[in-house]
Amino acid sequence: MGLRDYVIIRVLLTIPLVLILLSVVFLLIRVLPGNPCLLKFEHNVNPQLLATCESSLGLNKPLYVQFVDYFLGLFRGNLGLSMVDFQPVSAQILSRFPATLELVLYSFMVAVIVGILLGSLGATRRGSVTDGAVKVIGILLYSWPVFFLGLIFQLIFGVYLNWLPTGGRLCAGCQVPQGLTIGSVHIQTGLYTVDSILAGNLPDLVDSVRHLILPALTLGLVISGVFIRITRTNMLETLRADYVTAARARGLKDRTVVYGYALRNALLPVVTVMGLQFALLLSGAVLTETEFNIDGIGRFLVDRVNFLDYTAIQGAVVFIAILIATVALFIDILYAYLDPRVRL
């Protein structure tokens, strides 16, 4: 099977995966007692008005009709209107996505850098105190609840040392970085670090980075636990490989052998895990966004669950599922490209 066929099959497999997930979510949230109309009216409401509300949201239709309607809309690329504020769900999700993406990207960088550095350090000093410390740190970081680590960071770096802000994406009252305008084209990504660079606004860049440090460190360190352990284990394997022994026998410096040869090969399985960890990052982002007051997809989902906003919940789940499936697909393709045995 060629790479193209492999990609096509993987894409085709992703579609039923998302549809099954969406069907489950669609049914599960409707099993919960209540609906957005009952939640909307604080006082005892006239049944006629309740019926009007339910009719306007399509909640009076049989479940299978609602199901078909929603999926037909979905195939037309329409995630529907929020049942709480009647705004397009797709626009709401897209407005929240940059915050999550920025957090996830920087957290991922933290996770990969810390994971690979500590993992390879432990492997090269196997059996030493350093190795023991790396193993303990790896387990601790992996097992530490993300909200707890975040709270500790907020207290130390925010309250006691007062070095870094404890929440938000920019200081209160600060203008959102406007990006770059070239002629009639305006480029604004919603990623404040990128937009402030595009705008050439250094104070905004520093401010947005300062606001990102604690949440990215929190989420990144928790995720890095897996990378530490996998990198260390794989490094130990590759360090025992014949080609490493051969390289050493040729008189190469240990540093070159470890970081030039062994680490590169040890990273292949790490790349696979990255795809899985991305899903974990997104779920961790729900807690991190809440704790650090970041208006991303995670907080959006939590808020909308509280309002039983069916369409918004479905939309957010679809979006996250497609995102994870896309990243997993990308990783699989990358791996298939790197290792032709996968395509056999």
Partner: protein, 576 residues
């Protein structure tokens, strides 16, 4: 590539990356300090500069966990924060004197009521302008009320608070309005209503700018047609243009506020009085009380108002870098019995629970002394309040509870089972409150309490469906009057929004009489009687009354926390 060239490349790549990172970090840090940090956080001072008088900041940052839940349209906003915004962006004909519940003139300079109590005339202040310079007059007031009748948003306050309604939502207090002159407006009521001034001071009755709040072309009362929604354009999403501030920025993401900026309204009728004290207010929104508590501790906000956890407030009280402000609260919380449940049909059982409740335990363990025990549905400090439940049962009166339970047929071997449900994700600390209640009731040795919880999203429908047996609810008033703490809980049919299924014809008659009585002597008698009836029957058991708490920098002044729960941004000041 041979090995030695590879080696050289590996080293040089690493070195380059490290050097680039160092250069970037050093450049960023240097630039940051060179510009003195983010530009907008730097303090700017007002022009009152003299060598002796203090100088004030022209911008104050307020942090909150609230959000505008729907819109800033008085026809629609029925949540605490939405109404709070309207109170600062608009103004009413009548207002409360800060720190009191005393009515003072605002957009109206005087008013009179007919002898039958069903007609009110308000004389409007002359020379008042909307923010865009348009003249304000009686026509604008009539327009605003007529618009409310045209919209009648079913989930909104006009109908919800019983102000007005027609057709399926008939009828509220107001029948119609009539312009008697450019600055004279008349309100005809469906029946005499002694709390009418309180209703007029409620944000729902604030006049709107007709140009920004068009009348629905084809009204469909009960829907939200005609409501002014958030658009992302501050020029069109705020119909309130008569208050101390104008809305200069409203950043909202997916139905939740991110930041709101208020700027002094140059046409505010009381601008000559020096209001607002601070020309710019930035409201920054936080996801939870922990984030907000950190923000005020680190100085990211100047004031934190609503909601802070009791533990954070306690620690802030000992922090010299912070100032804690407290005031009476109007929020009450209470236990409700569903009398369709056989055990709670028995009045002795309800009385026993009322006797066993340990309010001191709730206050001390959950609120660390920051709440007040409550012995009536009418809050402490409000006119006509009596401690009826304390008179009848005392507090944590286990002996009385045991005696009542014994009379009802329960014993230590045949215990009363109470399935107590509390909501999650709405009120604060309901889990802890419920645990304290469990401890209170089980102290009798004759009750077993099963604690259950439901998310707020399903809690109300479960209440309506009769699935809950004993459950917790809270109440913020629509307007400041004992009537708003009585009528909603005890409707004649026993349903209302609490679904107690408790009916009492004497109580219903009293409520009808109260709404049309203006004599304070008669009202005292009637409210006392009503509270006694409720305490004796105990369809609900009042638990506690919250307090309003704000935490600020010690440089902040002008925070007034009073029974109105109106957070007046226009009184705030902060020295540099």
């Amino acid at each position: 590539m041979n090995i030695s060239s590879y080696k050289r490349k590996a080293i040089s790549t690493t070195a380059i990356v490290v050097v680039i990172i160092i250069v970037l970090v050093v450049a960023a840090v240097a630039a940051y300090y060179a510009v003195g940090g983010p530009s907008t956080t730097s303090s700017t001072t007002s022009s009152h500069s003299s060598s002796t008088s203090p100088t004030y900041k022209n911008k104050i940052i307020v942090g909150t966990t609230d959000t505008v839940q729907t819109t800033l349209d008085p026809a629609d906003a029925y949540d605490y924060f939405g109404i709070s915004m309207i109170q600062n962006l608009g103004d009413g004909l009548v207002d409360y004197r800060p720190g009191t519940s005393q009515y003072v003139p605002a957009l109206a300079t005087s008013w009179s009521v007919s002898p039958d109590g069903a007609t009110w005339n308000f004389t409007l202040r002359q020379g008042v302008k909307f923010a865009d310079g348009t003249a304000f007059n009686a026509t604008a007031v009539k327009y605003s009320v007529d618009r409310q009748f045209a919209i009648q948003e079913a989930a909104g306050p006009f109908v919800g608070a019983g102000i007005g309604g027609t057709g399926a939502q008939c009828c509220g207090v107001i029948n119609s309005t009539k312009v008697l002159g450019p600055y004279l407006i008349q309100f005809k009521l469906n029946q005499p209503f002694t709390s009418f001034l309180g209703m007029m001071a409620f944000a729902t009755m604030y006049p709107v700018e007709p140009k920004l709040a068009p009348m629905p072309a084809h009204p469909h009362p009960g829907t939200n047609e005609g409501v002014i929604n958030y658009t992302g354009n501050v020029a069109t999403e705020n119909p309130n243009q008569l208050g101390p501030y104008i809305l200069s920025a409203w950043q909202r993401s997916a139905g939740k506020d991110v930041e709101i900026d208020l700027t002094a309204n140059p046409n505010y009728w009381n601008a000559s009085g020096g209001y607002p004290k601070t020309p710019n207010i930035v409201i920054s929104f936080y996801s939870d009380s922990a984030s907000l508590a950190l923000a005020v501790k680190t100085g990211a906000v100047d004031i934190a108002y609503r909601q802070l956890a009791a533990t954070d407030v306690q620690s802030d009280e000992t922090n010299s870098a912070l100032k804690v402000w407290t005031g009476p609260g109007t929020f009450i919380q209470y236990l409700v019995f569903n009398e369709n449940v056989p055990a709670f049909q028995h009045q002795l059982v309800r009385e026993a629970v009322a006797a066993a409740v340990n309010r001191t335990l709730i206050d001390n363990t959950v609120f660390l002394g920051q709440a007040e025990p409550l012995y009536s549905m009418i809050p402490n400090g409000m006119i006509y309040h009596t401690d009826a439940f304390q008179t009848d049962y005392g507090n944590a009166n286990t002996a009385k509870a045991k005696s009542l339970l014994t009379q009802a047929g329960y014993s230590t071997t045949n215990k009363l089972i109470v399935n107590l449900t509390y909501p999650t994700g709405h009120y604060t600390s309901t889990d802890l409150i419920s645990s304290a209640l469990k401890q209170s009731l089980e102290a009798t040795g004759m009750v077993t309490v099963n604690l259950l919880n439901q998310p707020w999203s399903s809690y109300k429908s479960s209440t309506a469906n009769g699935q809950l047996q004993a459950y917790i609810y809270g109440w913020y008033p629509d307007y400041l009057d004992p009537y708003d703490y009585s009528f909603p809980f005890f409707p004649a049919n026993g349903v209302g929004f609490l679904y107690t299924h408790w009916t009492n014809s004497t109580a219903s008659d009293l409520l009808t009489q109260i709404s049309g009585t203006s004599s304070s002597t008669q009202l005292t008698t009637m409210y006392t009687q009503l509270q006694n009836i409720v305490a004796q029957a105990a369809p609900v058991v009042p638990l506690f009354q919250g307090t309003s708490i704000a935490v600020s920098s010690p440089k902040v002044s002008g925070i007034v926390l009073d029974v109105t729960t109106n957070f007046r941004y226009w009184l705030l000041q902060e020295t540099t």
